[in-house]
Amino acid sequence: MNQNLKWKGLFILVIVLGCLWGLFARPSFPTSWQAVKDNFQHRIHLGLDLQGGSHLVLQVEVDQAVRFECDRTIDDLTRELHKRGVQFGDIQRVSDTQILVKNLNPTQSGTLSNIVQSQFADWQVAQAAGQANGFLLTLNSAAVAQIKTQTMQQAIETIRRRIDQLGLTEPTIAPTGSQNDQILVELPGEGDPTQAKAVIQAGGQLELRKVIDGPYPSEAEALAQHGGVLPADSEILPGSGSSSSQQPGAAEYYVLTRIPIVTGRDLRSAQPQPNPDMPGQWQVQFNLSRDAAQRFGPFTARNIGQRLAIVLDHRVQSAPVIQGQISDQGQITGGFTQQAAKDLAMVLNAGALPASVRYLEESTVGPSLGADSIREGVRASIISLLAVMVFLLIYYRLSGVNAVLALFLNLVILLAALAYFKAVLTLPGIAGVILTIGMGVDSNVLVFERIREEIRAGKANASAVDLGFERAFLTIIDTHVTTVVSAIFLFEFGSGPVKGFAVTLVIGLIANIFTSIYVSRAIFDWHLGRMTRQAELSI
């Protein structure tokens, strides 16, 4: 055996051992057959379609967050303008990113510009087209982009905190979508995502506000009570239908102060507990942070006998009368079941979502279906692999052994690469594996047919093998590169499952070039070195 071949053999051995190590010997070196199996299952990450679990895609309404910012700016700006004594007719939001100030006192336009420049740096002010003395404030695009990114980050973090509390194993929460405004949530092993969905989608915005009056059966009536004009800094909010005990389910509206005394951010903790007054019903008990308690204590002391509204996601959950000074505790009641109270406490603990989310897509695969798919898919793959191998052995005799070895090695490298890259094996991924195996067989067939051709043409064994590999090499490179090129495009532009296909395909093809050219050639050289010149090559 020549020196060159020895090094080749060593190189191949190192690669094979590295792959086997990656597949079977991590995280700990196996000492039993069971440990080998466990390691393998641990290393190959199965997609939800094979393993079972839930896959959700959520749309985050990032535009809503921009709109909120706009509304907040209107409030602040109004206050500021009043403070500075600037006279104007009306101020309103004309789009998600634009505010129109109408009928500004013409002599005070400089003051408006100054205020905007100094205190609302993200906004640009300009004369509104077609409006005498009207000014248009526009939120600049950098700020819009920043609000959107921040909203996404916050939404992802909030959803992660909520899901962590559900105690599921290895959930994935990641941004997705072409605009990067969607969130992908994957819950492996979760066969019923109803609870997770409810917990994710709950707004979780808790506010404690002072009740001015109410409840009224309709919005119009509430307005009529105030002579058609609401008092400054107040608004009408609907009740949840459970806040007044007289008529459960009836529509009701409250007039509340606009600015909350305490919000969800002031919570230290929330926990579910049985409602002591209503057996069988549950409530959520919350504790305020020290800061908030210092505000809340005096407020309740001042307002004994008044009503306090507990507002959840812009609905009045309950409006109890303040009996005495409360420092840092409160309850949210409203006919909760134990599960609902538990979920609400969880949501409150995890914090509010910065914008609402809606579901675009849901896919749930039960564990037994996943098991069926694996069982049937693996069985079929093994049967077809065996059939192909048997045929190769019959058709190419001893050289067939070479092809079968190359095929096996290809599969091992492919699986090991999936393990090392932590790639996920899905059903379309299995399609990629099948295409890889097909191309592996094809490469071997190409080389072998070429060697046969050269032998028929009267070449000696060694030079026939030499020529066979050399001539087939170009073809193999061309076919593989073409497929890799297409796989790269698929990865770049395809959606989830198509991506999985592309990944396994690229890995498989690279492994294939190595096995069908380098390894297979080395085996031939070794075999040729051991046989006599005159002997017939078994191909």
Binding site: I383, L474, T482, F493
Partner: protein, 410 residues
């Protein structure tokens, strides 16, 4: 063992038969497409709700239909296997655009099933209980009288029972008594379970809900990805060979995809993302086949300078014929096994492959190669001596030579 010693078939002379075959298949697909009124999109491209259910007994399809109403039902497939399971796939049409309604389909199906199979009062369905809930129940009832020593024992038992249900008994128990065969299920455990549980007559195996915008977006993305991939291949082949080779290869592959889609219409299979993966796979195969032949044509062009171009192509096809038959045969074998034994989830995928491998194989020598030959004949007649030689065929030789790397002549 050898299949073909040295075949000598005039493939280019038979090109018109292949063209006729392709034309017939394309027409067949076209009429099937007209008949079904367009491609049947799977849930991921169409939007809507799809639920896989497994029943303990034969599924009451007529009753489900009656309760759901035909207006909302897109499809109901009975995919039972008489020997082992009773499965039903119910597809519902997209019900609404709004977020609240994305769940409406699932709710409707569940309601219908609850009406058909009223649940016993005060008992939980064992077939849909989660390991956590089961562990909670066992801890509370303590059938093994472990008291405070229980530790994680009931968690482990619950895991084992659920594993037995999902993996050893196909995901559905016919009666609670059957759980007695599970490891660790002593008679005490079984009788305790019988008090609190019943074996529900159906389980939900898979739910897929896709909103309408998502479907549209996925469809667009799949088409774009495929077109970009084809364009990428065209550029690479044009770079390695010549533009006309790339164009011919891409046309042939496109033809394969069209015919396969035609067969999908004909057999009423739905196009899903998995099917797209299958189409891409067959694009890969067919392209592979075509390149092998083109490679040999390129090599022969140098060796057989004086022969007419069609003869060179014929020879290339004959030389690679045994490879073509072998590879395609083996691949066909593999996907046929997948089609027959691969299970229902892989079924549409395998179907696409079975059709695609057959079409993809003959399109290489029946479509792609004749296109190149036709092109050079056309160039040879209409533009004699277009570049430097006396005919199109000869004029391309130097180019081919220049671009050839070392194919090794000794």
């Amino acid at each position: 063992m050898e299949l073909f010693k040295s075949p000598n078939i005039n493939w280019m002379g038979k090109a018109k038969y292949f063209a006729a075959l392709s034309g017939a298949l394309l027409l067949l697909g076209f009429f099937a497409w007209l008949h079904t009124g367009g491609l049947l999109y799977g849930i991921d491209f169409r939007g809507g709700t799809l639920i896989y259910l497994r029943f303990a007994q034969k599924p009451p399809i007529a009753e489900i239909r009656a309760r759901l109403g035909n207006a909302t039902i897109q499809s109901i497939y009975d995919i039972s296997n008489p020997a082992s399971r009773n499965d039903l796939v119910i597809g519902l049409k997209e019900v609404g655009e709004t977020a609240q309604r994305i769940d409406a389909g699932r709710t409707a199906i569940l309601k219908a099933l609850e009406q058909i199979f009223p649940a016993p009062a005060n008992k939980q369905d064992f077939n849909s209980v989660t390991p956590q809930a089961l562990a909670g129940y066992l801890n509370e009832k303590d059938p093994l009288n472990l008291g405070t020593k229980a530790g994680t024992q009931y968690q482990d038992l619950a895991q084992a029972l659920v594993h037995y249900r999902d993996f050893d008994s196909n995901g559905i128990l016919h009666s609670i008594g059957d759980i007695g065969k599970a490891p660790g299920a002593t008679p005490a455990v079984v009788s305790s379970l019988e008090q609190g549980f019943y074996a529900g007559p159906y389980v939900i195996q898979r739910v897929q809900i896709v909103g309408p915008q998502v479907g549209k977006q996925l469809r667009k993305q799949a088409v774009l990805a495929t077109l970009y991939a084809l364009a990428g291949m065209l550029v690479y082949i044009a770079f390695r060979f010549e533009l006309v080779y790339g164009a011919a290869a891409v046309i042939a592959v496109f033809h394969d995809v069209l015919i396969t889609l035609g067969f999908f219409c004909l057999f009423h299979y739905e196009i899903s993302l998995t099917v797209i993966a299958a189409l891409l796979t067959l694009v890969g195969y067919s392209m592979n086949d075509t390149i092998v032949i083109f490679d040999r044509v390129r090599e022969n062009l140098r060796l057989m300078r004086r022969e007419p171009y069609p003869d060179i192509v014929n020879r290339a096809i004959n030389q690679t014929l045994s490879r073509t038959i072998l590879t395609s045969g083996l691949t066909f074998l593999a996907v046929l096994v997948l089609y027959l034994f691969g299970g229902r989830v892989l079924h549409p995928f395998a179907f696409a492959m079975v059709v695609g491998v057959m079409v993809g194989t003959y399109s290489s020598f029946g479509i792609a190669a004749p296109i190149v030959v036709l092109w050079y004949r056309f160039r040879g007649q209409k533009v004699p001596g277009a570049t430097s030689g006396s005919s199109g065929r000869q004029s391309k030789e130097p180019t081919a030579n220049r671009r050839l790397a070392t194919a090794g002549r000794r």
